[in-house]
């Protein structure tokens, strides 16, 4: 594992291989890879193609034709009438606090277990890592009942309990992702030289200053990678909102797309547009922060 964590950034392709010393023909490889790449692009390409065609055209000419108009009407309809603007905003409301909280709490824990020596370091770290590897469905029944039986004022939640609130989704997402982030961050912090904080200790800096002014700034690359990864993970989370949120208009986009299937029965164009809209934020992050995302995945390849 430490081997994995030690190489956060993959070297650009071709940098390390010496096989080029003997000239090789790669035609077979290229043919295979091209075919695979096309196969890989077909499902997504088909969704985009369907989404761009108005339902009138596909009804008239069939889905397997190039005839008829191509426009963004389906996207506009999904965004306005399909409620995607609401769902998207719900995703933001859940994802942003959950990612920030996860990273903050995980960095506290990681600092304590990696930079200070005490008895239960490894035990706690194992507990955090194991928690993250469990299938979420194992925790579903008790968490649902806990949320249901936790009575809160109606001014706080219109259900009178924690069901149907963003807070419970954020809390459970945070708890569930924290283990993984703690594991990755503690590996990262362990690799930082012990001299750094020893020197500060001699200077009279307390634990908080060591954490805040020495270790945190050095962990910026790890935060960037983990932050990107966690935004994707939590944005893509389907299960926790499905369990806790009952009113359709509070669902985040990933969970809401499921309802769309029933809502727009037989309007596959609109469903495709919804799917493509859901892809867009992750695609933007992928294109802008691919390097961070890949670094995050390889940093902590423990992720299930």
């Amino acid at each position: 594992m430490s081997n994995v964590a030690a190489r956060p950034r993959p070297v650009p392709a071709g940098a390390g291989t010496r096989s080029g010393s003997r000239p090789k023909r790669h035609y077979g490889t290229h043919i295979f890879l091209t075919v695979m790449a096309i196969v890989w692009l077909v499902p997504l390409g088909w969704s985009v193609f369907t989404a761009l065609r108005p339902v009138a055209s596909t009804n008239q000419y069939g889905y397997f034709s190039l005839a008829g108009a191509f426009n963004f009407d389906n996207f506009i309809q999904a965004w306005t009438q399909g409620g995607f603007s609401t769902y998207f905003w719900n995703s933001v409301i859940i994802t942003v606090p959950a990612v920030l909280l996860t990273l903050f709490l995980a960095s506290l824990m990681a600092f304590a277990v990696s930079r200070v020596n005490w008895k239960f370091n490894i035990t706690l770290l194992i507990m955090f890592t194991a928690g993250n590897l469990l299938p979420p469905q194992v925790l579903a029944a008790p968490l649902f009942e806990m949320a249901k039986h936790l009575t809160v004022p109606y001014s706080f939640s219109d259900s009178g309990n924690m069901l149907n609130t963003y807070i419970i989704v954020i809390a459970v997402d945070t708890a569930f992702q924290m283990g993984f982030c703690t594991f990755v961050l503690s590996n990262y912090m362990k690799a930082l030289s012990a001299d750094l904080t020893e020197a500060a200790l001699v200077d009279g800096a307390g634990i908080w200053r060591q954490y805040r002014e020495i270790i945190l700034p050095l962990c910026r690359p790890a935060f960037a990678a983990l932050g990107t990864l966690e935004v994707i993970f939590i944005y893509n989370d389907y299960f926790w909102p499905l369990l806790f949120i009952q009113s359709g208009n509070r669902l985040p986009i990933t969970t809401a797309i499921n309802n769309l299937q029933g809502q727009f029965l037989n309007n596959y164009n609109l469903l495709a547009a919804g799917a493509v809209i859901t892809v867009i934020p992750t695609l933007i992050i992928y294109l802008l922060l691919q390097r961070q995302f890949v670094a995050g995945l390889t940093l902590g390849s423990s992720k299930g």
Binding site: M1, A13, L33, Q137, N236
Partner: protein, 324 residues
């Protein structure tokens, strides 16, 4: 300043990797902590640990407890002990249980024998000096960015009976031979596993690409000098050298197959040929007949199975740390 600090630190603790040698001087370090530092540390550990205990470990134990009880989820006073009734019910009188176990096994085998080797193959091919390697990598990796729920929807559009691309390509669209790939209970598990492979192979490829870059090139050269063919070099030298990554991949493959929830739930809530343990858990918790005891018993079965890879992984990861 730094030179003074250097002298004060016992030489053992300068090596961040030497965990056990740090232990003794560490005790001295703790003694140097002021009471304010101790309070700060207690909060730093206490708050995350409390959250983890309350929202992960306590619910896990409660699942075990609920699996031995009968409860409608309404009033805590109605909670009744039920012995092993729930387990007897799911193994003997609950028709979807054994199909679900079989499907989970099939899912695991499919990922282990098809999706993971495919990812490894892609990684090996892309690790060579070939043109456009970055572009291929981006394409194969793209589905990893998508949620499994969304993958279910995207493949639904591709697999549909009347308007899906696959039936059109096969020439069966609009004819009685057209297959509803996600609806037909004899094929839908295979269709769903292919959709899952789309994502899993890209993930495995990425991890192995990082692993292959880490293999010392001199190992390969030495094997080549000894007259080993490329295939021999790979299976006898390179692949064993990637042991840490191999372990991670084995664990990820097992855990993914146990977590295969989103994709089947999006398709048809895990019924009619797509029964999975995780989906059965949820079917028993939501909907009209809430049978929390039965759902929890299923959750415990899932928990016990998933503990195998988890314990294996943890002992590999942390066992080494303790020994070193």
């Amino acid at each position: 300043m730094s030179s003074t600090a250097q002298e004060l630190i016992p030489p053992e603790s300068r090596d961040p990797a030497g965990a056990p040698s740090k232990r003794r001087p560490g005790r001295g370090r703790v003694r140097r902590l002021s009471s304010r530092d101790k309070l700060v540390l207690a909060l730093m550990v206490g708050i995350p640990t409390l959250i983890e205990l309350m929202l992960v470990w306590l619910p896990m134990l409660m699942s075990v407890g609920l699996s031995f009880s009968r409860w409608n989820g309404l009033d805590l006073a109605d909670l009744r002990p039920a012995g092993t009734d729930n387990y007897q019910f799911i193994t003997q009188d609950y028709p979807p249980f054994w199909p679900a176990v079989q499907h989970n096994m099939l899912w695991l085998l499919f990922l282990a024998l098809i999706a993971t080797p495919l990812g490894l193959l892609l990684a090996v091919l892309l690790d060579q000096n070939i043109r456009g390697s970055k572009i291929y990598q981006s394409i194969f990796f793209a589905p990893v960015m998508l949620s499994l729920a969304l993958i279910g929807i995207i493949w639904q559009l591709f697999y549909q009976r009347d308007n899906g691309l696959l039936n059109f390509v096969l020439g069966t669209a609009g004819t009685p031979q057209a297959v509803d790939w996600f609806g037909d209970s004899s094929v839908n598990i295979w269709a769903a596993m292919i959709a899952a492979t789309w994502r899993h192979a890209g993930y495995v490829m990425l991890l192995y690409l990082a692993g292959l870059k880490g293999v010392d090139p001199s190992l390969k050269e030495a094997a080549a000098i000894d007259g080993a063919s490329a295939t021999q070099t790979f299976f006898r030298v390179v692949f064993p050298a990637m042991r840490p990554i191999n372990i991670v991949i084995v664990v990820i493959t097992i855990i993914e197959s146990l977590r295969a929830f989103d994709v089947v739930y999006v398709i048809n809530r895990g019924t009619n040929g797509l029964e999975m343990l995780s989906a059965l858990v949820i079917q028993n918790l939501v909907g009209e007949g809430q049978v929390i005891g039965v759902g929890s018993a299923l959750a415990v079965v899932l928990l016990v199975i998933s503990l195998v890879p988890i314990v294996f992984y943890l002992s590999r990861t942390f066992g080494k740390e303790n020994r070193a």
